[in-house]
């Protein structure tokens, strides 16, 4: 994209993009650290994830303020308008991703010192690695304004949801085996759910990138495969169609 006649307008948009990338980097590290802390029971690392979250909140607020100022000052049109609106949306998604990573670490702190079936923790780790890949790729797609890459991440999220389904069942099994597992497994279940929702936020970002570049929303249906709401026995009628067996 060629430059604006008013150079300071370019500088403002550049600054928004730079801030988003900074947020993305922080969120990536938070998720990676939260996962390592969970697997290794590293209380110190978990603690640091919890305290890092405020940085995301600060930058997000800063991005919103700058975006609003840019709208007020420049009345952006077309690609510029989409750029500013996308910055607000993506910042909010990344901020939520930070909240989820923080929550994983809070739970890590809560379950430290309890009995753990390591195998289940490894399931969460595997899922988290997949989502971390999604997060990394979607941030690259944003940097490069690469719609194909964004769509690829968007499609990949179905696999994460499927993995969450099987993890959900596994945890239920442990809980049924021994009620003493319930506290631990419940925390772990929430951790898995947090990771799954981070995946959902990466698809939000993918949708925003698609809109930013093409001006159109993604019209296809979202690859939603979290079917656990139907597997609790409340929705018996849905059971025959339930996937992941």
């Amino acid at each position: 994209m060629s430059e604006h006649t008013v150079a300071s307008f370019d500088a403002e948009l550049q600054e928004l993009r730079r801030s988003i990338m900074e947020m993305g980097g922080i969120a990536e590290k938070m998720l990676a650290d939260a996962t390592v802390a969970l697997v290794r029971r590293d209380v110190g690392l978990a603690q640091s994830v919890v305290t890092t979250d405020f940085r995301l909140d600060t930058i997000q607020r800063d991005i919103e303020e700058k975006a609003i100022l840019t709208i007020a000052r420049r009345q952006p049109m077309a690609i510029d308008l989409r750029e500013v609106i996308s910055a607000i949306r993506i910042a909010s998604d990344i901020e939520r991703i930070g909240d989820m990573a923080k929550n994983i670490s809070k739970r890590t702190l809560a379950i430290s010192g309890q009995f753990e079936p390591q195998r289940v923790v490894l399931g969460v780790e595997r899922m988290s690695d997949m989502v971390l890949g999604q997060l990394k790729d979607i941030l690259d797609a944003y940097t490069q304004l690469d719609v194909d890459k964004a769509l690829e991440v968007w499609r990949r999220d179905g696999a994460t949801d499927a993995l969450y389904n099987s993890l959900f069942r596994e945890l239920l099994t442990y809980m049924m085996e021994d009620p003493r597992n319930i506290t631990f497994c419940t925390h772990l279940l929430f951790c898995a759910k947090n990771v799954e929702r981070i995946g959902d936020h990466t698809t939000n970002v993918a949708e925003t990138i698609h809109y930013l570049v093409t001006g159109q929303p993604i019209t296809a249906e979202r690859p939603k495969m979290d079917r656990t709401a139907y597997e609790t026995g409340i929705h018996d009628d849905a059971a025959p169609g339930a996937p992941g067996a």
Partner: protein, 298 residues
């Protein structure tokens, strides 16, 4: 179910192919699905065109200022003409009421139809045309007469009023429509030039309305006005489109985005892109349009 299942694609491809399938089995009827795709790109519910321009070229001496413009001005809509200075938008606007006839050495080719009637037809009365297609200019230019006379002048020379009472009625109605009645009713005998800039511009709009035009052309009507007066004119434009078809030339992209339903972007004498205003300002197709409206050139 496999974990790597493809996300469900929208069934659009099926919808698109089905009319073609039915075409094979049914005789083609005018206005059936087969003709629908042609109208689709500019929005589904497209109103009737009030004015249709085909291959309109304007020459100033030997220089070609407009290079063959094809477009439609939809009835009861506001059409905004935008583009950098010298792009031809004002030239095109002036074609619509043959104001270019008054410029020495200017020549217009191509066809402009209003309600299907050629406005460049030799037998057409230009004075009458300009009553049907009114114009409001950049700088408010009231006649150096009273407020009443400013508005009564047109209806009088066109013989639109049989007597004084009718004329007074036209003056009041025009001032009301232009949103100036309350401010001007007690000073109708005072000179129009004594009004504020914004009031003068509304007086000019009232004057244009007084001869019951069908189309109102506005050439940067707010560029000499302050923001409040501008807002009042914009509000007025929106009301006027109930009764009139409006074409506005403006350098303010925000104004075009606010007041118009259709936007035409001119550049170097070409109509580069036209379409629904909502689309032009959020997702233009042509790079030149994008560059212009985002402030990258011009």
């Amino acid at each position: 179910m496999p974990a790597h299942a493809e996300p469900k694609q929208p069934p659009s491809s099926e919808i698109e192919t089905s009319p073609a399938m039915t075409d094979l089995t049914k005789p083609v009827v005018a206005g059936d699905a087969a003709s629908a795709p042609a109208a689709a790109p500019h929005g589904a519910n497209r109103p009737e065109p009030k004015v249709t321009a085909s291959d309109v070229k304007v020459f100033y001496g030997s220089a070609e200022a407009l290079h063959g413009i094809d477009t439609e001005i939809p009835a009861h809509q506001v059409t905004a003409l935008i583009g950098p200075s010298g792009c031809g938008k004002s030239t095109f606007l002036r074609c619509l009421n043959r104001m270019n006839d008054t410029i020495e050495g200017a020549r217009v080719t191509g066809r402009i139809l209003m309600d299907g009637e050629d406005i460049y037809d030799k037998s057409l009365d230009v004075v009458l045309l300009r009553a049907r297609v009114g114009m409001v200019f950049q700088k408010p230019n009231p006649f150096p007469k009273s407020i009443f006379e400013n508005i009564a002048y047109g209806p009088r020379i066109h013989g639109l009023a049989k007597n004084k009472a009718e004329l007074e009625e036209i003056v009041e109605r025009s001032l009301r429509r232009a949103g100036l009645w309350e401010e001007a009713k007690d000073r109708l005998k005072e000179p129009g030039t004594g009004l504020s800039g914004g009031q003068q511009q509304r007086l000019c709009i009232a004057r244009a309305i007084a001869v019951s035009p069908e189309v109102i052309l506005m050439d940067e009507p707010c560029s000499a006005l302050d923001p409040i007066a501008t807002a009042r004119i914009e509000e007025l434009i929106d009301e006027l489109r109930q009764n009139y078809t409006i074409v506005i030339v403006t350098h303010s992209m925000q104004q075009a985005a606010r007041v118009s339903q259709k936007t035409c972007f001119f550049h170097l004498g070409d109509l580069v892109e036209e379409g629904d205003t909502d689309m032009i300002f959020t997702n233009p197709r042509d790079k030149r349009t994008q560059d212009y409206i985002t402030g990258r050139f011009g």
